[in-house]
Amino acid sequence: MPIDKITPSVTEAVQGVKDGMTIMISGFGFAGVPNDLIHGVLDSGAKDLTVISNNAGTGTEGLAALVGSGRVTRIICSYPRSKGSDLFDARYAAGEIELELVPQGTLSERMRAAGAGIGGFFTPTGAGTELAAGKETRMIDGREYVLEAPLRADMALVQAQEADRWGNLLYRKAARNFGPVMAMAADLTVVQVKRIVALGEMDPEAVVTPGIFVDRVVHIDNNREWDI
């Protein structure tokens, strides 16, 4: 039976999302955010979610809408506050959302570790700062390192440019950002793409995320302008 990861709708793509899940969401600023999938999760009604994403959403839609809905009890990110992050800011000020702030390089490296079967790694980032408080440290070659744990998720929502039925992915410009490491680090990786191509159409030298890391693909070409 041919492998076919292409799913007909957003609803089916996010099927299985449940209360209490940890969900990774790709994107950096407004580039590479899987807005349709995020609204799929919002429509599912799932609550008590932990979201892992670089930012905490801006504007009124996408990640900001999810955070603003009150269904996210905890967010793990590197840079929550931006111009337009009012929905997050209000929840934070009201003590309604827990924030785990992670240095940005540590954030993606922890995802890669989870995806690559690494049990933990020593990084110099954050050594001697508040963000390393309570963490194991070690001097290695005269330099202080912090031990960081892998970061995995129940589900990853990723935005990419092109996919084929095996789930191979190509991205576009700086919208690539966290997509490839999140795809590795989640039990269920769901991807929204702008274009579906035939198997074998992608240059095998240029595939960025091979299908082994992808579970479901949904084609979204509505080109909707999101308020994010």
């Binding site: 191979n168 590795m184 095998p204 030298e205 595939v207 091979p210």
Partner: protein, 230 residues
Amino acid sequence: MSVADLELGVTKLTRPQIARRAAELIPDGSFVNLGIGIPTLAANVMPAGKDVVLHSENGILGVGPTPPEAERDRDLINASKDYVTLLPGGSYCVHSDAFAMIRGGHLDLALLGAFEVAGNGDLANWTTGDRRFPPGVGGAMDLAVGAKAIWVLTDHTTKKGEPKIVNACKYPLTAKGVVKRIFTDLALIDLTEDGLLVREMVPGLTIDALQAVTEPKLALAEDWQELAAA
């Protein structure tokens, strides 16, 4: 018939036949690594219509069968350094990403060769400890701990007729307790919580004859079948 065949009075599977039987049982849609030795032969005997994605740890996903000699490409070899092809949908990656796939638990299955397999699933396949010859571990230890399931493909006994399925490995271990299923030239055996369960035997072989060349205690599945050469 070889001497061993004569002793057992049965026709053993050839190496490609062992590989073929394993290939038949790979679940459709699986991502699978084929180790050096008998396992790599599986790429050439994959049942038609089965959509399995083969992984090679030197950086290939979607390995296809051996090419005709005229189409060999020195930049396209598998982990056994044999010429291969790439299927549509296949891709290349850096070595560290190929092993991220392995260690990260993304492979459904790895088919590996073995010097010895113990009844508890311990695997020894990287060195005989003979100090005259350099050992070679390759990707065996990564595959053994990383793939979701490990199937071993091996001759049932050494060339001298000694069991390769043993009570405890004498050779240095590759990994502890990882083997789930063994395909040999005589039988298909599952390693279960209750011990070794024989699922298939070649025509004419008895469980007693198989037990005689196997160290750990064997049980015969109620629904056991003939291990037919394809």
